[in-house]
């Protein structure tokens, strides 16, 4: 009869995630309200008369009290919103994040065009660093000994000290300018040309992967070594199972839970790293969108990217909790 506590556990986690998201949205919205500049004036542009500004303010509901505005902001994300500017009415579909102050484009369309780039970058990077990290971790665990441990610890320390943009600059300098093995990265979408897409992402992937891999290797090594000392492994050995089989079937399983939680914890920092990676390599992803909109104080875009990043982090944590239970039924249900 463990389905009932399981269901309440899931429900509690989901509710918690929704509350956290709401708090996040209040913070993001609060940031805008604290800003001394007048959004209506920014939407309208520099040549607007006070009457025009007032009209824009009415159309966007900026003349209403803060809590009403916040409510509209939330409702627009859930159910869409109509903006009426005098005679015409513009409908903004379901997850509506409003319109850019700077270009007037819908924020949704900006996010939609940037999201695949950031997804290609971070997911591809994640595949790379988990493969290499876990592989190196297992290899060094099987070769027990202080040297592997020391090397890995050193590498982890070095990679925490390496800012992502320094690594990115260095990689470009080495592979594009000095060795000239790769052309200067110029992003091509996967739909246009998959080969050039991959080529344009090699160095960005390597940047993220090099920053993360050592950490994953050390974690894998520690947990594989721990599992190999447990009783059931000794039993398996006593039964004469091959070492390869023991590692593949049992030791890796023990390493999986900490790996999943590390991946969940890393979503925030990796999104941060993606901001720099994108801006050095000129990838038109969420990070570049964010930095570009910061320069022009384009608040709806800044807010939407921040909220989206927060949502990713929260969802990743919920997903990790679900995965724990799937990987290890013994995982405590809190």
């Amino acid at each position: 009869m463990r389905s009932l506590p399981m269901a309440t556990f899931l429900l509690r986690r989901l509710l918690g995630a929704i509350v956290t998201l709401l708090v996040l949205s209040v913070i993001v919205y609060g940031l805008f309200y604290l800003l001394p500049t007048d959004p209506a004036r920014m939407i309208c542009g520099p040549r607007c008369s006070p009457q025009d500004v007032a009209a824009v303010s009415r159309a966007y509901g900026l003349d209403q009290p803060i809590y009403v505005q916040y409510w509209h902001f939330l409702a627009a994300i859930v159910a869409g919103r109509d903006y009426s500017t005098g005679p015409s009415t513009v409908h903004c579909g379901a997850p509506c994040f409003g319109y850019s102050f700077e270009t007037g484009q819908s924020v949704d369309s900006l996010l939609l065009s940037a999201l695949p780039v950031t997804a290609s970058l971070t997911l591809g990077g994640a595949v790379l660093w988990t493969t290499f990290g876990v592989g190196a971790g297992i290899a060094s665990a099987l070769r027990r000994g202080r040297l592997a441990d020391k090397t890995l610890t050193g590498l982890v320390l070095a990679s925490t000290a390496l800012p992502p943009f320094v690594l990115a600059l260095f990689l470009i300098l080495l592979f594009c300018a000095y060795l000239q093995w790769l052309p200067f990265p110029n992003y091509v979408s996967i739909g246009d040309d998959p080969v050039q897409w991959a080529q344009s992402l090699i160095l960005p992937w390597a940047t993220l992967a090099l920053l993360q891999a050592a950490n994953y290797a050390r974690l894998t090594r520690t947990s594989v070594l721990e599992t190999l000392n447990e009783d059931h492994i000794r039993t398996a050995r006593a039964y004469g199972l091959s070492e390869r089989r023991i590692v593949a079937r049992h030791a890796l399983r023990g390493a999986l839970t900490p790996l999943v939680s590390l991946l969940a914890v890393d979503v925030g920092p990796v999104l941060g790293g993606a901001v720099f990676t994108e801006s050095v390599f000129g990838l038109p992803g969420l990070g570049k969108l964010l930095v570009g909109s910061v320069a022009t104080v384009d608040l709806p875009v800044v807010g939407a990217v921040a909220l989206l990043a927060g949502a990713f982090v929260i969802l990743a944590n919920v997903a990790a909790d679900l995965l724990y239970v799937a990987i290890d039924p013994r995982a405590s249900i809190r």
Binding site: V28, T153, P163, L169, V302
Partner: protein, 320 residues
């Protein structure tokens, strides 16, 4: 009389939370045997000297960080420095900046001031906020703990950098930038210290000597100050020692993205962001600031790791 005696006895028998060496002198003895930590210390000391003595060093070099030198640039190459290796020589120790001809050594030395001041300031403020919240959560009763505990979780899960960028965008440019950076980094980065302080406070408050102090009539504020705070020192210092290099990277990062310190004030992140267009024509200009930033951060990381090992005996023998 008996209660005072009890308190006195409790204070006398007050044992450190772990067998780790306590006090700066014992810490120093352990650190001195740690070769990596000593290497880190040397780098950190050099950096501090570079920053504090920036006016002196640049005077010896005979340069300043703001003067333009058009005569040192090759206009045919779009303003790359004349001479090899970015114009490195006796007059300009690390060469000059392309397009402006400003002295790179002077800009890096003055940039060190910004880097150190912002990262140290941010770390202190983060620790202050974190310890305050952690103490309040640990000693404030169930309701306060539940509320602050949630806040701590939220602060830790935040996509730190992205919210930092959003915050820096919102505050008007007239606000003094280094102060703003310190505040933004502290407001976003107190979660880790708070989590550690809360956990430690919760474990310390069940100790006998704290119970004795409570029986002796000490107020919560006095218990926090006299009984809990000393026990927080080791874990918080350990954490802060690793927080500082992270803050250094963050400051450089904000400046790299153009939302940190404003020109003409020099900052490493800013130098690196202008370097992104000079891979081919002036690679020295890319390499030198990269090395300086990496070496400084690595120095602090090595020192911090040494402090961690010295204060946490479990970390010293185990591998994780």
């Amino acid at each position: 009389m008996s209660t005072t005696a009890l308190t006195a006895a409790a204070e006398a028998s007050q044992e450190p939370a772990s067998a780790a060496p306590t006090g700066p002198r014992a810490l120093w003895r352990t650190l001195r045997r740690d070769r990596a930590a000593m290497a880190g210390l040397v780098v950190v000391a050099a950096l501090v000297l570079l920053a504090l003595g920036a006016p002196l060093w640049t005077a010896i070099e005979g340069q300043n960080p703001y003067a333009y030198h058009d005569n040192l640039l090759n206009s045919a190459l779009g303003g790359a420095p004349l001479g090899s290796f970015g114009g490195i020589g006796g007059a300009h120790w690390l060469g000059v900046e392309p397009q402006t001809g400003r002295d790179l050594f002077a800009r890096i030395a003055y940039g060190a001031q910004v880097s150190l001041a912002v990262s140290i300031g941010a770390t202190l403020l983060q620790v202050l906020l974190g310890v305050g919240v952690g103490l309040a959560a640990g000693l404030g009763g169930r309701f306060a703990d539940a509320l602050l505990g949630r806040a701590i979780d939220l602060a830790i899960a935040f996509p730190y950098l992205i919210f930092g960028i959003a915050l820096l965008a919102v505050v008007p440019a007239s606000f003094p930038r280094p102060v703003l950076l310190v505040v933004v980094m502290a407001v976003l980065g107190w979660g880790g210290t708070a989590r550690i302080s809360r956990a430690q406070t919760l474990s310390l408050r069940t100790r006998d000597y704290v119970a004795a102090a409570r029986l002796g009539g000490s107020s919560t504020a006095r218990i926090a100050r006299r009984e809990i705070l000393p026990g927080l020192a080791a874990p918080v210092i350990t954490y802060a020692a690793l927080l500082l290099p992270a803050n250094m990277v963050l400051e450089a990062g904000f400046s790299f993205l153009g939302i940190g310190v404003r020109p003409p004030t020099s900052s490493w992140g800013q130098i690196l962001s202008t370097a992104t267009t000079w891979y081919y024509a002036d690679p020295t200009y890319v390499i030198v600031p990269c090395i300086v930033l990496f070496a400084s951060v690595f120095g602090f990381v090595l020192l911090g790791e040494g402090v961690r090992k010295a204060l946490d005996p479990r970390a010293a023998n185990g591998s994780g």
